[in-house]
């Protein structure tokens, strides 16, 4: 009997030790968040990072539904939006706001987001799958459309703007600087992520996974699938509201754009790209997408086109997302064979990447030829300026594309062999 107890404790220790009860990843994250502003010091870098963290919270909240609960929502932006709008109104209640510490504001955003989720969830969670998706789309569109009509709350075309610096100073800090906002946002990101992770380890969180996999079975374990979905939905609305509040603090303005279907679509893209099967997937998705959106959009007008292509490719070829791709390497890592993949990867991915860049060049040139104003023949690509109407750049780009992709295809079989080898226990490493 005591034997069983000791084995049980060590097993619990094993499981617990893996993530939550071990604070390591969270401590590392905290240190990283604190240190980043010292590495990237410019204001624009801070803005990008803030945007990343806001998206992280929203994506994690969204994944509570999609990845954890198997519920696909096409209208989730409204919960973030409503939370954000509520916060803007609080900011504009000058007397109240002057005695209100800013760091507490996200709680209110969460509460308003949760409130809306309570109302909508009461009827939308009756269905799962396609039905739920359709309801979420309709309700999302309805609220977004209402936002232009209900000017009192949503501010009509101009939205609602405010000033975060009128809050009660928090230990003397009035949050005038970007860096102040950065640390506030980082704190809330860490807190929200931790809370959401803990949620997934609670009874209702575990049953959300169960209902996702097999709602019928879950019912025969005593759980109403509908109620489990409802609680997940409400919790997700809460954290979405927090992301809206962070947006309000950061940008000091909320508009109809925060509510619309495009924003809902973006968060779906972000979460799926990152990988819905793992808790940290949406975090990767949010970071990568924000980088693509801010950095790539400076380089080319076609960044949305590339993003769309990447998204479709993800769904078709690696639906596990980036996190899925990473975690695919875990067995090889455990067997110590990860290093054997390095050279094959370089041999295939490098020419492949160059080939894809060649393709992109062709695409860019095509776009330029088609849409540039007449007479404007010059374009700049990869720091080279050339005339897009002459034949040479096309031939060069075409050859790069063909050679790159051709080389990748040639070396692909050996990569496959290396992969199989790395994933088979024993044998030569």
């Amino acid at each position: 009997m005591s034997d069983q107890l000791t084995t049980s404790t060590s097993k619990a220790g094993q499981q617990g030790g893996a993530w939550v009860l071990s604070l390591t990843p969270w401590i590392v994250a905290a240190i990283l968040l604190t240190a980043l502003p010292f590495i990237f010091q410019s204001n624009s870098a801070l803005t990008i990072m803030n945007q990343m963290w806001i998206t992280v919270v929203f994506a994690l909240a969204y994944n509570m539904l999609l990845g954890q609960g198997g519920m696909l929502s096409f209208g989730h932006a409204v919960y973030a939006g409503v939370g954000g709008f509520a916060c803007m109104h609080i900011m504009n209640m000058s007397d109240f706001f002057a005695s209100f510490p800013l760091p507490v504001l996200p709680v209110f955003g969460g509460l308003f987001g949760m409130g809306l989720a309570l109302i909508v969830g009461s009827f939308s969670t009756r269905s799962a799958g396609t039905g739920f998706a359709m309801i979420s789309l309709g309700v999302g569109e309805l609220i977004a459309a209402c936002s232009v009509i209900i000017v009192a709350f949503f501010g009509g075309e101009e939205g609602i703007s405010g000033d975060r610096t009128y809050a009660m100073p928090f230990f003397g800090n009035e949050f005038l600087q970007q860096i102040d906002v950065y640390y506030l946002t980082s704190f809330w990101v860490l807190l929200s992520a931790a809370l959401m992770y803990l949620w997934s380890r609670t009874p209702v969180g575990r049953m959300a996974n169960a209902v996702r996999d097999n709602p019928e079975r879950a019912e025969f374990l005593g759980y109403s699938a509908r109620w489990v979905r409802f609680y997940s939905f409400v919790a997700s609305g809460f954290f979405a509201g927090i992301s809206g509040a962070l947006f309000a603090i950061n940008y000091e303005i909320l508009t109809e754009e925060n509510l619309n279907a495009a924003s809902s679509g973006v968060i779906l893209l972000v979460t799926f790209l990152g990988g819905v099967g793992f808790f940290f997937g949406p975090i990767i998705g949010a970071v990568v997408f924000t980088l693509v959106q801010t950095v790539l959009s400076l380089q080319t007008e076609l960044w949305a086109f590339y993003a769309g292509t990447l998204f479709v490719a993800t769904v078709m070829f690696f639906p596990g997302g980036l996190a899925g791709l990473l975690m695919m390497h875990v067995p090889a890592y455990r067997m110590g064979k990860l290093r054997s993949l390095l050279v094959p990867y370089l041999k295939t991915l490098l020419p492949g990447a160059i080939g894809i860049l060649g393709l992109c060049a062709l695409v860019e040139m095509l776009f330029h030829v088609r849409h540039a104003s007449t007479g404007d023949h010059e374009m700049t690509l990869f720091w080279i300026t050339f005339d897009s109407h002459t034949l040479l750049p096309w031939i060069v780009a075409g050859m790069i594309a063909v050679l790159g992709i051709g080389a990748a295809r040639m070396t692909a079989p050996s990569l496959k062999d290396a992969w199989d080898g790395a994933n088979t226990p024993g044998g030569a490493s």
Partner: protein, 253 residues
């Protein structure tokens, strides 16, 4: 005389014009091991689904410990102490074996929809789940994702999840379907072990299993029960023989 564990009165079920269950009266006592056999298409799975509220009865009543189950949802019936397994394995494939069983314990241990406890922290949950794993002999496969188990192991897990909650009426739908001889013996032993002192209702095709396990047998043919009784009595019943052998016997005469 306490109420029977399960009581079916005048139970009928039609899908459109097709009457699948044509009026069933059956009483199963507490602690009894009852098998339901019959040729294919007799309506055995439909009967199960009627009792567990997967389908709604067209007519008739189902009573659990004397309580009418009409209008209750499956999870409500489960909370009253009735648990079932499925003919096609119905587990949570992406979760580990351990987690599968732990989920089965959550409601029973009173956790409901709480979000303020961490499942890892609860001794009762984790020890309880490990105890069940011991019973179904899957302790060695604790961390394996349930979808990767062998067929017989999955069926064992299915049974484990079914009994984990401590329900006192266990319904197993063809537990040994598709199994080899040795696997069948293994599962039969398992069933005997885990259903000690509980009421067991089983749909089975394998006669060996039925005669090993059952206290009483009911024979379901074309939506009606044509015989109920101890295994030997049923075996010798001419009506049953005719239902199973029917044409062959006639041809012989």
């Amino acid at each position: 005389m306490s109420a029977p564990a399960l009581e079916l009165t005048g139970l009928k079920k039609s899908f459109g014009k097709a009457e699948i269950i044509r009026g069933i009266d059956l009483e199963i006592g507490k602690g009894e091991r009852h098998a339901i056999i019959g040729p294919n298409g007799a309506g055995k799975s439909t009967l199960f689904n009627l009792i567990t509220a997967r389908f709604h009865a067209t007519e008739g009543t189902v009573k659990l410990h004397g309580e009418d189950l009409a209008g209750l949802r499956p999870y409500e019936i489960n909370r009253k102490g009735l648990s079932r397994s499925f003919q096609i394995t119905n587990i949570f494939p992406k979760m580990s074996v351990f987690e599968n069983v732990r989920c089965a314990l959550l409601w029973v241990q009173g956790y409901k929809y709480s979000f303020w406890n961490l499942v890892q922290r609860s001794r009762a949950l984790n020890d309880g789940a490990d105890a069940i794993l011991e019973q179904i002999n899957l302790s060695a496969r604790r961390e394996v994702p349930a979808g990767m188990l062998s067929y017989a192991e999955q069926r064992a897990l299915e049974i484990g999840i079914t009994i984990a909650g401590g329900a006192d009426v266990i319904m197993l739908d063809e537990p040994t379907a598709g199994m080899s001889h040795s696997e069948t013996d293994y599962i039969t032993d398992l069933i005997m072990k885990v259903t000690e002192g509980k009421t067991l209702v089983m749909v089975e095709h394998d006669m060996g299993v039925v005669f090993n396990l059952a206290d009483r047998i009911s024979v379901l043919v074309y939506g009606e029960i044509i015989a109920t009784g101890a295994p030997e009595a049923v075996r010798g019943d001419p009506k049953v023989q005719e239902a199973y052998l029917g044409a062959a016997l006639e041809a012989e005469h």
